[in-house]
């Protein structure tokens, strides 16, 4: 909701201000959040989920070349970076541009992973514009059933 309101920070700065004020009023600003958290509306949007055996990260990055995306893990921090080319016509042309809301340019997002993941068990897939990175947990951290003798 809030993310979708400030896709145009330049033109709609007033709405951004409104959002900040709302956040302050409702006390959200007082709650500590991740030191690497990005402003709402950052590209790509990221969803993170946990399963007993893995951490699943979904980055909603449509229209990028998967070969030009870098996914790195360094000391427990996963970084997704790359560039999305503008589809708008460059230079002088007879094309009129009305809506220009889609992200263009380079992007970078960082996610701190939990301590029990194994950086050697990483799989990344790109399908329908969603980058899906699956990081497995360490063998020792997997849930175990203990048999009673």
């Amino acid at each position: 909701m809030f993310a979708s309101m400030i896709t145009f920070p330049g033109v709609f700065g007033e709405f951004d201000r409104l959002r900040r004020e709302f956040d302050e009023l409702s006390g959200w600003a007082g709650i500590p959040n991740s030191i690497r958290s990005a402003a709402p509306g950052a590209f790509p949007a990221i969803n993170i989920g946990n399963t007993p055996t893995s951490v699943e990260i979904y980055a909603f990055a449509p229209g990028i070349d998967p070969k030009k995306v870098d996914v790195t893990i360094d000391r427990g921090v996963m970084t997704i970076s790359g560039e999305r080319e503008s589809t708008l016509p460059s230079g002088k042309s007879d094309v009129n541009v009305y809506g220009n809301e889609r992200f263009a340019g380079s992007f970078r997002r960082a996610i701190s992973l939990p301590d029990d993941v194994d950086p050697s068990k990483v799989e990344a897939k790109y399908r329908d514009g969603v980058l899906h990175v699956s990081v497995g947990r360490r063998e020792s951290a997997l849930p175990k059933r203990i048999t009673i003798q």
């Binding site: 909701m1 979708s4 709609f12 969803n47 989920g49 399963t51 979904y58 229209g63 708008l88 009129n96």
Partner: protein, 153 residues
């Protein structure tokens, strides 16, 4: 709370497109080809995909970011002069997935536009690649610009 924000956003989009509203007394501008509308059926929550709208002399190209939407789950409807794009995010989620952090909270995209009369709805072409929908809305031939010869009498 939520409703007021939806209203604010609708208003912002209205400002963005310089849309004329019936009864406000403003004249439609030449630049206004595709107007966004909020239909009543859009009551269920959905993400609004960001779009680029480009116009050249033969038609309009609309690009919309709809990541996670597959060809099967994408629906493009034209009802009267309203164009609706709708799609469900069908990215496969593993069993027993517990969301710990989510920026995309609703697994659905929806956005509607009002088309102007010179756009032919019969010949709309759609391409979906890597989560980007590309729609080509050609203008009727009679609406395309042409040179008018002046005869000397």
């Amino acid at each position: 709370m939520n409703d007021s924000f939806v209203a604010t956003r609708a208003q912002r989009d209205t400002n963005l497109k310089d849309t004329e509203r019936p009864g406000t007394g403003t004249q439609p501008t030449e630049s206004q080809r595709v107007q966004e509308t909020r239909s009543d059926s859009a009551s269920a929550k959905a993400n609004t995909p960001p779009v680029d709208v480009l116009e050249d002399s033969s038609g309009i190209t609309l690009l919309a970011d709809m990541p996670g939407v597959s060809k099967e789950s994408l629906e493009i409807k034209v009802e009267g002069d309203t164009l609706t794009l709708e799609g469900a995010i069908t990215s496969a989620t593993p069993q027993a997935l517990e969301a710990s952090y989510a920026e995309v909270r609703v697994p659905r995209f929806r956005r509607s536009f009002t088309l102007s009369r010179e756009l032919g709805t019969a010949a709309i072409e759609a391409q979906l690649k890597d989560g980007v929908l590309k729609l080509r809305l050609p203008k009727h031939e009679k609406a395309q610009p042409r040179r008018i010869n002046v005869k000397v009498v």
